[in-house]
Symmetry: C2
Subunit: 144 residues, 2 copies
């Protein structure tokens, strides 16, 4: 952030995000503040967004479970908000985080984006950083 | 990518992405391959995805215009694919790109994520890198 060039955009406040374009949801990109790696994409409804602001930890809306979901609630691999940006359409968020634990992916990887496209196939390109069976109990933490 | 640890995931092919979870679309994160900055989030339907693979340049599906949209078709600020990853749910893509031109945002910024949340407000935290009125003609390139 270039603070000298920072100007307040009065028309945009914390409540002024566009949840309508994606049926009540924002697309949320999670990026590691240290490594700059993109760790995952999730979705927030207005309540998840407010909970994230209140707690300082990333809270998603799980589409598959139809409920709020604090990332790391099962695994302990929580995501602490470092900074938050929105885009020109105000329908997406970029959150840089301090990632607690060895990875965000329920399959045991640092990043959910662990498959790279090579020669028309998806190749598992990352080493596992933890054992999902050790971390997740009967109630597996959903990813989305 | 750690090629020594790379193992082919036979069950996942280039056509094996999940477009159903978001009504025919994938969420697509665009990250600059050099700076690691997240530049924008867009969406692809199956056709946009195939066109991206064919051309080597990012092609989105514009939800507002209901048509395919090669990023940079008006501005010249195209996005050349460097690498492509998918996540564990196969419903999102991360594409690292060579960004041609001074920025991807139709408002004249390097990144669409030009507003940072500070003290409960969204602050324009980036300097403009180009003049949108100089770059875009009558037919303004839609962002999403």
């Amino acid at each position: 952030m270039n603070s000298e060039n920072a100007t307040q955009d009065q028309s945009r406040t914390m409540t002024d995000l566009d949840f309508d374009k994606l049926n009540g949801l924002l697309a949320v990109v999670i990026q590691d503040a240290v490594t700059q790696r993109v760790l995952m994409v999730g979705f927030m409804n207005a309540e998840a967004y407010e909970r994230t602001l209140e707690t300082g930890f990333v809270v998603f809306f799980s589409r598959s479970r139809n409920k709020l979901w604090m990332k790391g609630e099962t695994s302990g691999h929580t995501l602490q908000v470092v900074a938050m940006s929105t885009d020109c359409d105000r329908d997406a968020l970029l959150i840089t985080v301090k990632a607690n634990g060895p990875g965000v992916c329920h399959e045991g990887f640092e990043s959910c984006f662990s498959r790279t496209r090579v020669n028309n196939n998806w190749i598992v390109s990352d080493p596992r950083t933890f054992s999902p069976t050790d971390v997740y109990s009967d109630t597996k933490e959903a990813v989305k």
